[in-house]
């Protein structure tokens, strides 16, 4: 099956083995541009590994990944972010803890404002202007996610839920096409979960960003996602609307069987 050049991500036969363990066993799926697609499944079903293979953290054993027709298989992570505009989050490493909230955002915007490596060493008026623009953009995003009052706080010292909101805002700085979120709601209190969902929806509707969200919180997934994928033992066992998927006997069985 050839890749769909219009798909935000075309995943073709991705397999990832660690020795004799098969973490992802041949997954093929298209993520359409502009959709919010959930990815769920029991622990150890290969969700994170599939993410890793799509974003360059790991190289798939076989199979290919395309972003709008561009073959990004085996690219380094920084190149996938810069050239394919596919950015991801991590479950644990959320923000740069030593930097201020604002500096976190500036850092994430640098890949657009300072394209060449030589330009990153500049400290002249042009560089200062670029950083000022990034700070303005950062201020705007912080207002949207409701963190502008802690703009100068050290990122490591704000609550975990706030760090996740900061992480989300950071990912918008480089104006990506696709955002892959790895458990954005885990460890976040219910009020901040609502705020996170609002932010995802807004970015999707206003900026047309495609989302793939790994999440265990099924209620949140039903409310948020246009489409839900379920992985079990490295294989895709369901793909459809959230309501249909959660009633699918194969899905129910996978969850009960653990």
């Amino acid at each position: 099956m050839s890749p769909d050049p219009l798909a935000a991500l075309s995943i073709r036969g991705i397999e990832k083995r660690f020795g004799s363990i098969v973490a992802v066993a041949g997954v093929s799926v298209d993520i359409k541009l502009g959709e919010i697609c959930g990815l769920t499944g029991p622990n150890g079903s290969g969700k994170s590994t599939l993410f890793d293979c799509c974003t360059g953290l790991q190289k798939p054993s076989t199979g290919r990944v395309y972003a709008q027709g561009l073959d990004i298989t085996g690219w380094d992570m920084h190149r996938i972010v810069r050239e394919a505009r596919v950015i991801r989050s991590f479950q644990k490493a959320v923000v740069f803890r030593a930097l201020s909230v604002e500096e976190n955002l500036v850092l994430c915007g640098q890949m657009i404002a300072f394209q060449g490596m030589a330009s990153t060493f500049g400290v002249g008026p042009a560089s200062r202007h670029r950083v000022r623009r990034l700070r303005e953009q950062a201020g705007h995003l912080l207002e949207l996610v409701g963190l502008s009052h802690m703009r100068h706080a050290t990122a490591g010292q704000i609550s975990f839920g706030q760090q996740k909101l900061l992480q989300f805002a950071s990912m918008l700085m480089p104006e990506p096409q696709v955002i892959l979120l790895d458990e954005p709601m885990a460890g976040v209190n219910p009020i901040l979960i609502d705020r996170m969902m609002e932010n995802i929806n807004r970015a999707n509707q206003e900026q047309g960003i495609t989302f793939v969200v790994v999440e265990h919180n099924l209620d949140a997934m039903k409310a948020l996602c246009h489409r839900l994928l379920v992985l079990s033992r490295g294989e895709l066992i369901a793909d459809g609307t959230p309501d249909a998927v959660v009633r699918d006997p194969a899905v129910v069985e996978a969850y009960l069987a653990g």
């Binding site: 380094d76 810069r82 994430c108 890949m111 300072f114 500049g122 050290t154 480089p174």
Partner: protein, 336 residues
């Protein structure tokens, strides 16, 4: 992934230079140092010159450890490479001082690149061990490449710094003029360092120290910036070595001894890793203390060691953060 143990110092690192107080403190220090020859004797000036000589490799180590998160023991190897290459150039061709500095810095930086290619593939402790190996190899070469380095005898009668564009000019001989030369060099080095770490590249280096995978996920070509940090740290050390050799006018393989490498490490960790002020403070304090302890040569190293232990227990983040907290509690002034 950043070195463990470094992140705890992170909250003292600021990438944006919005610090009027820091600039003021820096200016006061420079003025005080500029006035020092009015009151200080030759020996005190000598101790200050040695402090400023160590400031350069210490800034280099601060860059790679405090900003890019990698502990390197190769600083004194690069310091020695800078010293030898600068001395040999000056002895053979009678080059002016500025050119010797450039040669020393470039030689160290250029050697760092092929060393960095394999070393930077390693992480954490393996990287530390690898850089220790570089220092040992550098010393072995200096001892055994007798036709160039004269082995253990070392190089002597290295020319004094000649201040000239090319030919002529004047030679630095008095201790006071050496002192001012060291001061100018130190101020330039600190300014260069501050410029670097407050640039976008500096921000990427901090990102790598904090979390290399996260840094890559926001578009940082991490390998490139780690290499740049490693090479630039070598350049700082090489320039320091160049000044050192034209001040002492002798150089031997003892420059690669662990004692010097440890001194640089103590300056950075004791002063405050990831801070510029801490490294400046550390350079003056630890070199001065080491010199002052010469009054009791038998007990010198023991006293030095004990002092380090006390400092580690009293302020594990280094002295500068401790002073800052004291000021905050005392007067409520917010000093970065």
């Amino acid at each position: 992934m950043a070195m463990t143990g470094v992140n705890v110092h992170g909250s003292y690192i600021y990438a944006n230079p919005r610090h009027g107080l820091r600039a003021a403190g820096f200016a006061v220090l420079v003025i005080a140092l500029a006035a020092a020859p009015l009151v200080a004797g030759d020996y005190q000036l000598h101790a200050l010159i040695v402090s400023m000589t160590f400031l350069l490799p210490a800034l280099g180590l601060n860059l790679i450890l405090g900003y890019a998160g990698m502990l390197s023991f190769a600083q004194m190897a690069f310091f020695g490479i800078g010293a030898y290459s600068s001395a040999l150039t000056a002895m053979r061709w009678g080059t002016p001082f500025w050119l010797n500095l450039v040669v020393g810095g470039l030689a160290a930086g250029i050697v760092a690149v092929p060393l960095g290619i394999p070393a930077l593939r390693l992480r954490r402790y393996s990287f530390v061990m690898c850089t220790l190996g570089f220092a040992v190899i550098a010393q072995t070469i200096a001892k055994n490449w007798i036709s160039v380095t004269r082995g253990d005898l070392g190089l002597s009668q290295v020319p004094r710094p000649r201040i000239a564009l090319w030919n002529g000019g004047f030679e630095i001989t008095s201790i006071t003029s050496y002192y001012y030369l060291a001061l100018v060099l130190s101020v330039l080095a600190v300014l260069a360092f501050l410029t670097l770490v407050s640039s976008a590249a500096g921000r990427y280096m901090i990102a790598i120290r904090e979390d290399e995978t996260l840094a890559a996920s926001v578009g940082t070509p991490t390998w490139h910036y780690r290499m740049i940090a490693f090479a630039l740290s070598a350049v700082f050390a090489g320039v320091g070595g160049s000044f050192y050799v034209h001040y002492f006018t002798v150089i031997s393989p003892t420059v690669f001894d662990p004692f010097y490498a440890n001194t640089v490490l103590v300056i950075v960790l004791g002063g405050g890793v990831g801070t510029v002020g801490g490294v400046v403070l550390g350079s003056f304090l630890f070199v001065a203390v080491s010199e002052a302890l010469r009054i009791a040569p038998d007990l010198r190293m023991i006293a030095y060691g004990l002092l380090l232990i006390v400092i580690v227990f009293a302020c594990p983040e280094g002295l500068l953060p401790l002073f800052i907290r004291k000021i905050r509690f005392g007067g409520g002034t917010h000093v970065p």
